[in-house]
Each structure stands twice: as C-alpha cells, then as structure tokens.
C-alpha cells in the first residue's frame, strides 16, 4: 500500500528527505 500527499505550499517549502529512506509516522517530511 502507498500514501500519496499532494499539497500547496510556499515556493520555499523544503523536504527533509532522501529518496529510498525509511521513515516512521511522526517524523518530519519538511517545512
């Protein structure tokens, strides 16, 4: 199963992620 998030944000929104990294619920995606 998969979750897809699509959202509008200010153009300077930055992800704090690396492709392929494992993540847990509650960890930051970006800000």
């Amino acid at each position: 199963s998969t979750i897809v998030l699509l959202f509008e944000a200010p153009a300077h929104f930055a992800f704090r992620l690396r492709p392929g990294q494992k993540i847990r619920f509650g960890e930051a995606l970006g800000d």
Binding site: S1, T2, I3, V4, L5, L6, F7, E8, A9, P10, A11, F13, F15, R16, L17, R18, P19, G20, Q21, K22, I23, R24, F25, G26, E27, A28, L29, G30, D31
Partner: protein
C-alpha cells in the same frame, strides 16, 4: 504436424514449451539486470524500463481484486491458539516486524493474520516531530509523515505530471479526477478544532466516469487551479508501506477534509519494482482521495490500495467501502463534508469547512483483502 508428432520427433509438449520460454525469459531478465548493474557501477544512469501498454493491460486483466478478497477472507480465519505463535511469528520474521513496538507483543493475542496486520502501536512508539522549543513560537510546525514506510519520491509537481519514482510519471488530473470549484479550498485560515456540535454533516454522492484525455493547456490550468497564487507551488510525496510496516495512517498536519473520493480500480502490486515498471500505476489502482485545505491552501492525502491490501478504512467516514465486487473501475464516488456543523465521535470535528483533523491524529488504516 500430426504425422511428425506421431513419429515422436517433435511432439507438442506444453510443459516443455513453458519451461523453455520461462527459462529464456528469466535468462534475458538476468542478463538485463547484470548489464544495468555494470552501467550503474560505471556511473551511468539507467532509465527505468517501462511496461508496454499490452503488458499493463495483461496485468490489469488478472483477477487481482478477486484474489485480494479471497486472501482477505483467508487471512480472517481464526487460528487456534497453539498455531498463532508459529504462523504469525513466521510472518513477523519474514517481513521484519518489530514486535517490541506493538501494543500487544504476545502473538497469541491475535486471532488471525488480519488481526495481526492491523495491530496497534504502543502509545509513545511514534513521537511527533516538533520544532525546537525556543523556536516553536516563531516557526510553523513541520509537516510530518502520515505513516511508516519508505520514501519513493518527493518534490515539486511540474507541468501537471507527478513522479511516482524518478523518471516515471503520472498525470495529476488522472490521479485526482475532475475537481469542481466548490471542492477547491478558498483562501482559508488555519482550521479550528472546536467546532460547535449539531446535526451530522451532509454528504453529496455522485458517480462519474473518466472523460477524454485533457489537452496540455487544460492540464496546465488544472494545476494552476490547485495553486492559490504567487509564491506558491504544488508539492508531492509518495510513501510505500511494506508488508511488515504498521499500516495505520495519521493526519500529517492540521487541515480540513472537504471531499472524499473513492476510485475503484485494479489491485496491482505497489512494491518499488512494480512502481518503476508500470507508468500511472497509482491512477489504475483502487484508492481513496481526501482533499481539503491547510494553512497554505490545497492539501490532499490519497491511500492507494495494493494486491493484498485492497481495503482502506477512514475512521470518520463509516460509509466508505472499498474492494467490493460490484464496483466498476474507471468510475468514482464522492462524499463531500462540511455544509453543516457536526461532531463525530473520537474528537474529529466536522464543521462548515469540512472535517477538521489535528496533526498526528489517527485517520485510517489499510486492511488485508
């Protein structure tokens, strides 16, 4: 041919034919994989091999929904207590389940595989990320992951195309379906959670089929309609949940859900290999889209079903039923929230702007079958 077969020189043997073609194909795949590894070692980027339309058609024509439902029924069979340890332990071992973080560590507590799959976590197993206490007043709280899993893709949406993995895209409009203006969020303030209680929110249900493919200018305007104005952009993030992961999902931010849209569809695997292989996979599979607004404008979360995990549950939406036999692929069913005030048990408030969700609040879950 009959006379040749009768001499025994060249007899039609289906098993031999299958072994020969299967073996040949496996050898070919092995050779390709070996070549790709060699190129990657040399620092050459290998473009993903995309499935031909006939391969996708063939895959989609398999009775994946039927198999999924059969698997769901099998997984709900109650296991005798003495068998729970070995069977569920084998599943936990095979898929790397960390039992220490499960709310109930004793496998004998779980009556079936389905029950184990829908296990809860210990209350403090997943602390919500927060800004540094000294900065909290000046910074907005970050967007958090709605679930456990692996990040497949993230970034900006460009030209109405979203990446499911690097180099493989799908159409934003095919994925979301047509969004009427009434469901697009106006420039709204951040959601308030203490909505007045009252009658349950009304729902509007409708079904529709996919229309003709949009033109390039239509696509551009579709993306522009989702973005409120200057200095804003549309972003996406794809999280893959492996079989051993906790399969509940939570609200990633404070927002209001204005619309729930259920797309019945195929139930192809969404493992990273298949996501790299089948273009527009997320537009084919059964999925539930929740869309509304957050403090920066449009916000949506979509739960995409998979081969063994075709059931999607949304806690505040008791009407939702997924992976049903009569559902027609290519259609969708809408329920919109928020024309009247209301309160739903569990603290989720329904108000004039939709269903208000707090950051980290339980939102739904995937189930087997």
């Amino acid at each position: 041919a009959h006379s040749v077969a009768s001499r025994g020189v060249l007899r039609w043997r289906p098993l031999h034919f299958l072994l020969a073609t299967g073996g040949g194909y496996a050898t070919y795949r092995g050779y390709r994989s070996h070549k790709e590894k060699q190129l990657e070692e040399q620092g050459i980027e290998v473009p993903p091999r995309i499935a031909h339309p006939w391969e996708v058609w063939l895959y989609r024509s398999l009775p994946t929904r039927l198999v999924s439902r059969a698997w769901g029924r099998l997984s709900r069979v109650e296991l005798p207590v003495w068998l729970r340890g070995p069977v569920l332990g084998l599943y936990a071992w095979a898929f790397g389940v960390d039992l220490r973080e499960a709310a109930e560590e004793d496998l004998r507590h779980y009556a079936s595989l389905s029950h184990f799959f829908a296990r809860r976590l210990k209350p403090h197993a997943r602390p919500l990320h927060a800004a540094h206490p000294r900065l909290r007043l000046r910074l907005r709280l970050p967007l958090v992951s709605p679930s456990d899993g692996r990040i497949l893709s993230f970034g900006r949406v460009r030209n109405c195309e979203v990446e499911q993995v690097k180099g493989v895209t799908y159409s934003l409009e095919d994925f979301l379906g047509p969004l009427p203006h009434t469901h697009l969020p106006p420039r709204a303030p951040p959601p308030h959670h203490h909505t007045p209680s009252g009658p349950a929110s009304s729902s509007c249900s409708s079904s529709s089929s996919s229309g003709p493919a949009p033109s390039a200018s239509d696509s551009a305007s579709f993306q522009q309609r989702l973005v409120s104005g200057e200095g804003r952009d549309l972003f996406h993030c794809v999280i893959y949940l492996a079989p051993g992961d906790y399969h509940g999902f939570h609200s990633p931010t404070d927002w209001r859900v204005a619309l729930r849209r259920h797309f019945p569809g195929s139930l192809m695997s969404v493992s990273p290999g298949v996501v790299r292989w089948v273009r527009s996979l997320f537009c084919h599979n059964e999925r539930v889209l929740l869309c509304g607004c957050w403090e920066h404008g449009f916000f949506s979360l979509t739960a995409v079903g998979a081969q063994n995990v075709g059931s999607i549950r949304i806690y505040f939406d008791q009407e939702l039923q997924t992976n049903r036999p009569g559902d027609r692929a290519g259609s969708f069913r809408d329920v919109c929230f928020g024309s009247e005030g209301g309160e739903v048990p569990g603290g989720v408030g329904r108000g004039p702007g939709g269903v208000a969700l707090r950051r980290g609040e339980p939102l739904g879950e995937f189930n087997l079958g």
